[in-house]
């Protein structure tokens, strides 16, 4: 699974990455993480509020930092 955290490096983006990593490890998912900090690249995903979370090139969340449980709910159906 490829997980991208979109954001210019603000506190929220750091938090989102931390939460997403925790969720992935709790689910036992083998995921690679990538940070996307370039604004053109972020906007190209259709995201207008940072931070954003992209799983296998699908935007699953934007504009807020979720809890690890919420991220697990987002990730679980995409495993496999």
């Amino acid at each position: 699974m490829k997980i991208k955290v979109l954001g210019p490096g603000c506190a929220n983006c750091v938090n989102l990455e931390k939460v997403a990593k925790q969720a992935a490890s709790e689910l036992g998912i083998d995921a690679t993480f990538e940070k996307v900090t370039d604004y053109a690249e972020i906007a190209a995903y259709g995201i207008m509020r940072t931070p954003g979370l992209v799983v296998d090139e699908q935007v699953v969340l934007s504009g807020r930092v979720p809890t690890a449980r919420q991220v697990k709910e987002l990730l679980a159906p995409r495993v496999g």
């Binding site: 604004y39 190209a44 259709g46 940072t50 699908q58 969340l61």
Partner: protein
């Protein structure tokens, strides 16, 4: 809302609305006892003279801190819950295909009601412009959003009443509409970084607000209150502290003499001081309140506050990623001129 009213769901619903009603009553009681409580504590228990310098300064600080925190908590909660029905994505969809003029008016109005943080100004700017929304219309949105903000509305309403609040909202909307329209007419697209127009929007748009329950929206309101209060409390304390000093110690006619209604440069100076000053409405309004009691006219004070909240250096530095310096300069000048004009207008008619 739930369509199938199972006993469990009904109990949850009762808990939710009952809790909210209880919180509202508690809020109202605290708001009512605030002044008598500090009158009693500062005046009778500590024994300070409430009309003296120290007594009135201390009383102002304590009373104002509680009042402003209450007002902020109440109004930010309400606004956040109401705004949870809007989103930047929906706003962009509404603005799509609108001409300039109508577009500017709509964009300014949506700038007020859309939940939006200027930290997202850059991706939103790219998202708007790359999807074909005219530059001037986009700017109307970006100007209105910080200029007419919920913190300022909460405090103006509580400290000055409905009249000045409506004036502020109306003035903010007009400035955003006109400034955006002028920027659009000037055909400044060449001063936008070219990559913005080349950005291809490929991701599907997700609107994170469509499937929220009432519990989610209330939770968002509570989180927003705590996050805003945590962010602004230093500004708030400095602002109220300065206000208290002015309140207790500044000579009665000091500010009125130098910056009163008969000084033609007062508004101009207020705006020039306000633009580089980086604070938010929570830090500025206690100061504005204290200066108002010292005889400064409302137009000058509103202009000062608008200049401080609408144009901030950190946001301009962020916008530099997408706008060339010349366009940033024009954006700042047009907005500042609008604020100055509004200040003079209010001083003249009030």
């Amino acid at each position: 809302m739930t369509t199938t009213a199972t006993p469990g769901a009904r109990r949850k619903s009762l808990q939710r609305w009952g809790g909210l009603a209880l919180a509202a009553v508690l809020w109202w009681v605290l708001y009512l006892v605030n002044q008598p409580f500090w009158d009693w504590l500062v005046g009778s228990v500590i024994g300070l003279d409430l009309s003296g310098r120290l007594g009135s300064g201390v009383h102002f600080f304590l009373y104002d801190t509680v009042k402003i925190v209450l007002l902020l908590a109440g109004i930010i909660f309400l606004v956040t819950v109401l705004r949870s029905f809007m989103s930047v994505e929906r706003t962009r969809a509404l603005l799509g295909g609108k001409r300039e003029g109508v577009g500017n008016v709509l964009a300014a109005g949506l700038g007020v009601v859309t939940p939006f943080c200027s930290c997202s100004a850059v991706p939103a700017f790219i998202g708007f412009v790359a999807s074909g929304i005219p530059l001037g219309v986009t700017m109307s949105f970006l100007i209105a959003s910080p200029l007419v903000n919920e913190v300022a509305i909460a405090l103006l309403l509580g400290l000055f009443g409905v009249g000045p609040t409506l004036m502020y909202v109306g003035a903010g909307l007009v400035i955003a509409i006109v400034a955006g329209y002028i920027i659009g007419r000037l055909k400044l697209e060449r001063f936008v970084e070219p990559f913005v127009f080349e950005t291809k929007l490929r991701g599907q748009v997700i609107d994170s607000t469509t499937d929220l329950t009432w519990d989610d929206r209330i939770q968002m309101g509570i989180e927003e209150v705590s996050s805003i209060l945590r962010k602004i409390w230093p500004y708030l304390l400095v602002g109220i502290g300065l206000g208290a000093v002015i309140h207790g110690w500044a000579p009665e006619d000091f500010f009125a003499t130098y910056a009163g209604a008969d000084n033609p440069f007062a508004v101009l100076i207020a705006v020039l001081v306000g633009v580089p000053l980086y604070s938010n409405a929570a830090g500025i309004l206690p100061l504005v309140e204290a200066l108002h009691t010292k005889g400064l006219p409302m137009g000058t004070l509103l202009a000062f506050m608008m200049a401080t909240v609408a144009l901030s250096l950190p946001e301009l530095i962020l916008l530099r990623r997408v706008l060339k310096p010349k366009l940033i300069a024009i954006f700042v000048s047009v907005t500042a001129l609008g604020i100055i004009a509004v200040g003079y207008l209010f001083n003249a008619v009030l």
